[in-house]
Amino acid sequence: MLAVHNLSLNVGRFKLKDINLVVQEGEFFALLGPTGAGKSVFLEALAGLRQVNSGNIWLNGQDITFEKPEKRKMAFVYQDFSLFPHLKVKDNIRYGLYFQKQKNKDREEKFYRYLVELLNIENLLERYPESLSGGEKQKVALARALMVRPATLLLDEPFSSLDFNTREELVNKLQSLHRDLANRVILVTHDFTEARILANRAGVIREGFLEQAGSLEEIFLKPASYFVAEFTGMKNLFPVTVSEGKAWFSEHAQAVVIEGKAKEGNYYLGVRPENILLAKDCIERIGNCFSGIITGIKNKGVYLEVNITTPFAHWKAVLSPSQFSALDLKLEEKVYFGFNPSQVILVDH
């Protein structure tokens, strides 16, 4: 088990504040957050590449806070691949073996072959990194990190600079590798979808502070803060007051029906845009039905985003192109929209 207790550290003016986190053996954990949130700094602190100001890092019951990076068995993969430019691909992959004290050549060779075949990089072995594409470089970086059989694999936005197809291929490879090797993986990413595909659990970090950690479902369905809700794709977030089992928009006599019993008080009401249904007539059975004016239609490539303005809020809904043409929606037109009370999320104020 890897446990982080009250970890704090300063990098210039940036501060990582009181991080508490547990990542189990074999777990795939995703650390989410926007650029500059402190994800990479945290990962480097875990690897021993940055000195912490306070707090502790425990690995299987041992305090490794001040352990040297080479003793931690944590291999690092950076976003920019960081391959050694003076070494051929095969020497990059084998680099870590040079420093291992116990050597079993047959076992190493077998594992090397396995990685090379699985990542499909046989044809690259005699080449230097400068002649490789981004995807190829990342495969080599992954092979190099895994070759030392790390207890923990630290991935710092490994797919962010890759094109869609390469990213998809690498995500699949990483899934297979994690299934086969079962080592602990901590993936830093700003892409929630990537985290949902790969990780069992996740944490959301913002300005050096871990806002929430838990299962992906928990983070998606019960965001702990306005920031987490927004980061995970919640586009309709409004301040409301809950009373009598309903969420009331302040200064408007308009309420949203919610499911279950929420404590009375102030919240943010959240509805994901994909959960909003649009229609020409009111859909009463759905639970919450309102009317508004279409004030914007944005083509986002694979889907369309429709902005609806009501006297109490501005809403966003998403539609597939076929749904959109079936409804024949036009700007400045009146439209009905609704959502199920079970899809309403209340976030603490």
Partner: protein, 262 residues
């Protein structure tokens, strides 16, 4: 057909380049062209004239090696670590470049003389500086080491620290990461710095004559010949030094270029 338009700035650049190249190349070419073959042959066979040339090559080579061992670790420190007083340290490294070289020689002389504790310590250790090869190397190192430190530091700075980080997480110690990743990648810059250091050292005169006028190195011998016998007597040795310096300089450049292309 449209006329190809050439920007004015390129005309200016071409003009100034021609002046610069003429300024550098013509004096060298002129000196060599003034050298008579017979005089050159006599000089080459005269051991008293050639000894200073050998000594210059030896002393500058020792200087380059000493600078390498002293300068590279310091350059690495300056490139990789931020600490209080780093700016001051960087300025100190550049000091020998701005100090007039006879002044540098005087400064060194004050330190190695018996009036200073360093001089007394050297004396007690049996190390003679004034008027020895050690003195020549000391003077050469003082004025030329900044070239190596700055070249090596720049080279280290251009290597992403992430490469060292990755190396360490793969099991290398900081020292192993330095020798297996950083040093091989900085090699080109260090070798260039080494060539510049060597070239600066072999041409040193001002600091050397203060600290070790004897044994004579080539620049001192040329100066002495020029003062005693005039310009034309000094030309053969000057030409030999030009050939030696340019030959070794181009050879070193060629070797580094070849390594780069391979």
């Amino acid at each position: 057909m449209k006329k190809r338009h050439v920007e004015t700035i390129y005309f200016i650049s071409l003009f100034t380049s021609l002046i610069t190249f003429f300024f550098i190349v013509y004096p060298i070419f002129n000196t060599i062209s003034l050298t008579k073959g017979s005089m050159l042959w006599v000089t080459l066979r005269d051991i008293s004239l050639m000894h200073p040339v050998y000594l210059s090559i030896l002393a500058s080579t020792i200087t380059a090696v000493v600078s390498l061992f002293l300068g590279v670790p310091l350059a690495y420190l300056l490139a990789r670590k931020d600490f209080k007083g780093k700016g001051l340290l960087e300025s100190i490294v550049d000091l020998p470049v701005v100090i007039p070289h006879p002044v540098a020689g005087i400064c060194l002389l004050t330190v190695v003389s018996p009036n200073c504790w360093v001089g007394r310590l050297l004396e007690r250790s049996g190390i003679e500086v004034v008027g020895t090869l050690t003195g020549i190397v000391m003077a050469m190192t003082f004025v030329s080491i900044p070239f190596l430190i700055n070249a090596a530091r720049e080279s280290f700075e251009n290597i992403p620290w992430r490469l060292e980080n990755v190396s360490r997480t793969l099991g290398a110690t900081q020292t192993q990461a330095f020798f297996t990743v950083t040093l091989p990648l900085a090699k080109k810059g260090i070798v260039n710095g080494l060539i510049m250091t060597w070239a600066r050292a072999i041409g040193e005169f001002g600091a050397v004559i203060i600290l070790a006028y004897h044994p004579l190195i080539a620049p001192t011998k040329i100066y002495e010949t020029f003062l005693s016998y005039g310009l034309f007597q000094a030309i053969p040795l000057t030409t030999i030094m030009l050939i030696v310096c340019l030959g070794l300089f181009f050879l070193a450049r060629l070797l580094t270029q070849r390594k780069r292309s391979s």
